[in-house]
C-alpha cells in the first residue's frame, strides 16, 4: 500500500461516513475453505468502535466521490468543492483482502458517486464484488449500495455476488426528494426495491443465492420538514411492501461544504435514537405506527422518554400488568421489559410464581417497569400509574441507566 493509495483511502472513507448502515449480519453461513478466504457467521462482528460510538464492521468506502448528481444533503454532490478521488476495481479488492486478512473487518460496504453514467458506475461496483468472489474466493460479507438509475440487468448481476443490496431512499417524501435531489426519482427507487424484493423471494424459493441478507435503505432525518410520524409511515410501508430487512435513520449531520438550502442547525441526535427505538417497536413488539406516534405530540416523538414509555404513560388504564398472568403481547408493552426478558418470564413462570426479587434477576429494566407491574408479592401502592408526576419520577434520576 503506497502513499497515494492511503491518501485516496482517507478521502473515500471520509466521503462514505454519512451512510448509517454498517451491519454485517443476516447472511447464510459460508466459508472460503482451503483456497479462498474468510467466512460469514450469520451474526456479524463489530471489529472496532470509533469515538462517535458507531461500530466498524465493514470497510465502508466509495468507489469514487466524483458525482454527476446534485443532491443538496450530500457532501459529494457535483457542486461541492471537496477533494475528489477514485479507486480502481483492483485497488478496492486489494484493500478489502488486506484488511480482512488482518482481521480488521467482516467485509466490504461499497457505495459510489455517479460517474459517466449510472450503468457504468454500477458495473464497476459489481465488478469489485465479482472479482472478490470469483477470483479470490472471498467468503466475507459484501454490501453494495445500488445505483437506482442503473439498468435492471446490472442490479440483478450485483445481487448474484452481494450479501445485501441497499437502495437509499434518503428522504421520506416525494416532494422533499424533488426539492433536494433533483436528479433522483422516488418512483425509480421504489421500482428497484420492488425488483430486488421479487428476485430475493424467487431465489429463496429456488434455493439460489441472490442478496441473501436482503435489502436495506437509509432515510435522512432533519434535513426536511418531515415529521417522525411520516418517517415511520414510510418505514412501515417499506417493511410491508418491499420486505426490507432494515431501515436506517441518519440524523442530518453538518457537513463541510454545506449547501445554503439546508437547515443551519442539525437535529438533535436523540431524534435518530428515538426513531430506531420506534422502528424496533414496529418490527418486533407488535406496535402500529399510529400507536407509536400517539405517544408524542404533533407527529413528533417525545425526545425525553423512549417511545414505549411514552405510549404506556398515555395508556395508563391498560396497566399494571400481572407478570404471572399476562400474555406475551401485553408483557412486551411494559416499559423496561425487552423481548428476551419477556421470554425468560414466560418460561420461568411455568415453574414458579414470580416475585419482585425474581424479576430483578430476569430484567435489567425493572426500575422503569415497576410502576407498570403486578408480581406475586407486589402491587403498585395506590395505583402508581395514576400519579401525575410519574413521567418525572421515571425520567430524571436514571437517564443513563434506563436506555441501554
Amino acid at each position: 500500500m503506497d502513499d497515494a493509495l492511503i491518501e485516496k483511502l482517507g478521502i473515500l472513507a471520509d466521503a462514505a461516513k454519512y451512510d448509517a448502515s454498517c451491519a454485517s449480519s443476516g447472511a447464510k453461513p459460508r466459508r472460503g475453505g482451503k483456497e479462498g478466504l474468510g467466512s460469514t457467521t450469520g451474526a456479524g462482528i463489530c471489529h472496532a468502535y470509533t469515538p462517535d460510538g458507531r461500530c466498524v464492521s465493514l470497510l465502508k468506502i466509495l468507489l469514487t466521490n466524483h458525482c454527476l448528481f446534485d443532491c443538496v444533503y450530500c457532501i459529494n454532490r457535483r457542486s461541492s468543492n471537496v477533494r475528489r478521488a477514485r479507486f480502481t476495481v483492483e485497488e478496492v479488492v486489494e484493500l478489502t483482502l488486506g484488511f480482512y486478512k488482518r482481521n480488521c473487518i467482516e467485509g466490504l460496504f461499497l457505495s459510489s458517486g455517479i460517474i459517466r453514467s449510472p450503468d457504468h458506475t454500477m458495473e464497476q461496483m459489481m465488478l469489485v464484488a465479482r472479482t472478490l468472489r470469483r477470483d479470490h474466493g472471498f467468503a466475507g460479507y459484501i454490501h453494495l449500495k445500488t445505483i437506482p438509475e442503473a439498468s435492471p440487468w446490472l442490479i440483478e448481476q450485483a445481487g448474484l455476488w452481494a450479501d445485501r443490496l441497499s437502495i437509499n431512499l434518503e428522504l421520506p417524501s416525494d416532494h422533499s426528494l424533488k426539492a433536494f435531489a433533483p436528479e433522483k426519482n422516488g418512483g425509480t427507487i421504489k421500482a428497484v426495491m420492488g425488483q430486488v424484493n421479487e428476485r430475493i423471494v424467487e431465489a429463496k424459493e429456488e434455493r439460489r443465492r441472490f442478496s441473501p441478507a436482503g435489502q436495506s435503505t437509509q432515510l435522512i432525518v432533519g434535513a426536511d420538514d418531515a415529521t417522525d410520524r411520516s418517517v415511520l409511515e414510510t418505514s412501515g410501508t417499506l417493511y410491508q411492501r418491499y420486505g426490507l430487512r432494515r431501515v436506517y435513520y441518519s440524523a442530518f449531520s453538518p457537513i463541510p461544504e454545506a449547501s445554503s438550502v439546508l437547515p443551519v442547525k442539525p437535529p438533535p441526535l436523540q431524534r435518530e435514537n428515538r426513531l430506531y427505538q420506534a422502528d424496533w417497536l414496529l418490527r418486533y413488539y407488535g406496535f402500529t405506527v399510529e400507536e407509536i406516534a400517539s405517544g408524542g405530540e404533533g407527529g413528533m416523538l417525545d425526545l425525553g422518554i423512549d417511545p414505549k414509555l411514552a405510549w404506556a404513560l398515555k395508556n395508563r388504564e391498560r396497566f399494571p400488568v400481572d407478570v404471572n398472568r399476562a400474555d406475551r403481547e401485553m408483557l412486551l408493552r411494559v416499559p423496561g421489559l425487552g423481548a428476551r426478558a419477556v421470554d425468560k418470564i414466560l418460561s420461568a413462570r411455568r415453574h414458579t410464581r414470580l416475585r419482585m426479587e425474581d424479576l430483578g434477576r430476569l430484567s435489567n429494566g425493572l426500575r422503569r417497569a415497576r410502576p407498570f407491574l403486578i408480581a406475586a408479592d407486589y402491587h403498585p401502592a395506590g395505583g402508581l400509574t395514576d400519579r401525575l408526576d410519574l413521567r418525572q419520577r421515571l425520567v430524571t434520576p436514571s437517564s443513563q441507566l434506563s436506555l441501554f
Binding site: I11, I45, P51, S79, G98, K101, R102, S151, H351, D358
Partner: protein, 472 residues
C-alpha cells in the same frame, strides 16, 4: 470430603470425569472441594482414561452451559456447575428454564461473560503480516483474553483464515495454524510477539489507521458509547486506537468550523449533463446489447458461454425458444442441437427460409446437471425466465419483428409474464407490445413416444409455422 484437582484453564475433560465419578457414587455437592492445580494447558493429561463412572445424561442446554462456563476464570465455577448437575439429576430436569433461580442466574452471568470475551477476541484481535523464511507471509497476533477461551476461539479463526498460516499468542496459551493442522502451545508473553516496528506488512496498519480516522464523524462524538463496547483494556493491541485521543480532542473544533463556515458557493455545472448521461446509458444497438449479455454472469453457474440471438435485424418473424442445450452451449449458436435440426426441417417443409428469421432463446445460458459424462438439460425456473426477460425484450426492441413466435411454455412465459398451457392456447396471441403466436417447442416432438403420434404432432407444428408466416 472429596477433593478434586483439575488442571489450570478450561478443564472440561477433567470436570466431566469427576462428575461421572461423583454422580455414580451419589456424592452431594457440599461434600466436594474443587481445586485447580498443575498448569498444563492443552490436555497434557488428556491421556488419562475416564476411570470410573458411566456417562451422565444431561439436557443439551446444560451440556452447552458447562462447556462455556468452564472457560471462566472464577475459581468457584466447578463447584457451581456441579451444584447445577446435582440438582438436574435429582428431579429438576428443567432447572435451566428457571432463570430467576439464584444459581441459574449466577451461571448465566458467567456464561455471558465468557461469550462476551470470545466475541471480543473474534473482533479485536489484529493480525500483522510477517515475511516467512520461504517468502510466504505468516500472520501473527497478540491478544489478552480475560478467561480461558483460547481453545474455544480456535475453530472460528481456523474456519475464517484456513488458507493463511497464522499464530495467535496469549498469556493463556497459543495457537498455530499451518493451513493443515492446528497446534496448541504454551502461554506466551508480550515480548514473544514481534514488536510493531519489526513488522513489514505493506503499510496496511498505517492504512487502517487512516481509514479509522476518516470514518469518524466529529459531529457525533460520543466516547462513552465507544468505551462501553470497546473498553480501554483492548486498546493496546489495536493499532487504530492510537489515534483516539487526538480525534476526540479535535472534534469540537472541527464541528464549530463546519457550523461557522458559510454555505459553500456552488460551482455551477450543468445538470443537463447528468440527465443526458442517464438517458444515454441503455445499449444503443443489438451488438451493444450482445456485448452486455456476453459479459454477464449466468444466473445458474456452469454454462460455457452465453448463446446470443441470430438472424437479420428487421426480420419479419422472431422465433423465441427456451434456452440453449448442450450442443448450443458448446458452439455458442442457437438451435443447432437435435431440436434445432427438427425446427430447420419443419421450416423447410413449411416453405420458410430459416436464414430470413431471427432466432433466439428466452434464457441465454445452458443449465444442466452432470450425470457421468453427460450434461442433462434442466428447464429454467420462472425466476430465471424473469431474470432474463429484460434482455429478451431489449433484444426484440432492436430486431423489431412483425411477429414473435414463442416455442413452448418457457418462451410463452417470457413473452406473456404468466404460465401458459401451450397445447390449449396455441395460435395467435397478443404479447406485451408484440403480435404474437404460440406453438409447441420442437423438443416436445422429440419426446413423443409413438411414431404415429409424432407424425401427427409434427404436421400440426408445420401447419402452425405456415399460419404464423401468413400472419407476419
Amino acid at each position: 470430603m472429596h477433593t478434586i484437582t483439575l488442571r489450570e484453564g478450561a478443564d472440561l475433560d477433567g470436570f466431566r470425569r469427576a462428575v461421572r465419578r461423583l454422580a455414580a457414587a451419589g456424592t452431594a455437592p457440599d461434600k466436594v472441594l474443587w481445586s485447580v492445580g498443575a498448569p498444563s494447558l492443552f490436555g497434557g493429561e488428556a491421556a488419562l482414561a475416564s476411570e470410573g463412572g458411566a456417562p451422565v445424561f444431561l439436557p443439551q442446554a446444560v451440556g452447552q452451559l458447562i462447556e462455556t462456563v468452564v472457560c471462566h476464570g472464577d475459581p468457584e465455577r466447578y463447584a457451581l456447575l456441579y451444584r447445577l448437575v446435582w440438582r438436574v439429576l435429582n428431579g429438576e430436569r428443567a432447572l435451566l428454564d428457571q432463570h430467576a433461580d439464584p444459581l441459574v442466574h449466577r451461571l448465566e452471568r458467567l456464561d455471558k461473560a465468557v461469550r462476551r470475551d470470545i466475541h471480543k477476541m473474534h473482533a479485536f484481535l489484529r493480525f500483522r503480516a510477517l515475511p516467512g523464511p520461504d517468502g510466504e507471509e505468516r500472520y501473527v497476533a497478540w491478544f489478552e483474553p480475560d478467561h480461558h477461551i483460547v481453545e474455544a476461539v480456535a475453530p472460528f479463526f481456523v474456519e475464517r483464515f484456513e488458507s493463511m498460516a497464522w499464530t495467535i499468542l496469549t498469556p493463556k496459551g497459543s495457537l498455530h495454524w499451518d493451513r493443515r493442522r492446528l497446534m496448541s502451545g504454551p502461554p506466551a508473553e508480550r515480548p514473544d510477539a514481534p514488536a510493531h516496528d519489526r513488522f513489514v506488512d505493506d503499510r496496511f496498519a498505517e492504512g487502517w489507521q487512516r481509514y479509522y480516522e476518516s470514518t469518524f464523524n466529529p459531529a457525533r462524538v460520543n466516547p462513552t458509547a465507544m468505551r462501553a463496547e470497546m473498553p480501554r483494556k483492548y486498546w493496546a493491541n489495536m493499532p487504530e486506537t492510537a489515534a483516539i485521543p487526538a480525534m476526540v480532542r479535535s472534534a469540537p473544533a472541527r464541528v464549530q468550523a463546519m457550523l461557522e463556515a458559510e454555505a459553500a458557493v456552488p460551482r455551477r455545472r450543468m445538470p443537463e449533463k447528468a440527465v443526458a448521461a442517464m438517458a444515454r446509458q441503455a445499449p444503443d444497438s443489438l451488438a451493444d446489447l450482445n456485448r452486455l449479455i456476453q459479459r454477464s454472469e449466468p444466473l445458474v453457474p456452469g454454462a460455457t458461454q452465453a448463446v446470443l440471438g441470430e438472424g437479420p435485424e428487421g426480420a419479419a418473424i422472431a422465433i423465441v425458444g427456451e434456452q440453449p442445450g448442450d450442443q448450443e452451449d458448446r458452439e455458442g449458436r442457437p438451435f443447432v442441437g437435435p431440436a434445432g435440426q427438427l425446427l430447420t426441417a419443419a421450416l423447410e417443409e413449411a416453405g420458410i427460409d430459416r436464414g430470413g428469421l431471427y432466432l433466439t432463446n428466452a434464457v441465454k445460458h445452458f443449465k444442466f446437471v452432470q450425470r457421468g459424462k453427460r450434461r442433462i438439460h434442466q428447464s429454467p425456473t420462472a425466476g430465471e425466465v424473469k431474470h432474463y426477460r429484460w434482455w429478451l425484450m431489449t433484444e426484440l426492441g432492436f430486431v423489431r419483428p412483425r411477429l414473435v413466435v414463442a416455442l413452448g411454455a418457457t418462451a410463452a412465459l417470457a413473452m406473456t409474464g404468466r404460465p401458459v398451457a401451450v397445447l390449449r392456447e396455441r395460435g395467435p396471441m397478443a404479447f406485451d407490445g408484440w403480435n404474437g403466436f404460440i406453438t409447441v417447442h420442437p423438443s416436445y416432438l422429440l419426446r413423443l413416444p409413438g411414431e404415429e403420434e409424432r407424425r401427427r404432432a409434427q404436421a400440426a407444428f408445420v401447419a402452425d409455422l405456415r399460419r404464423a408466416a401468413a400472419l407476419a
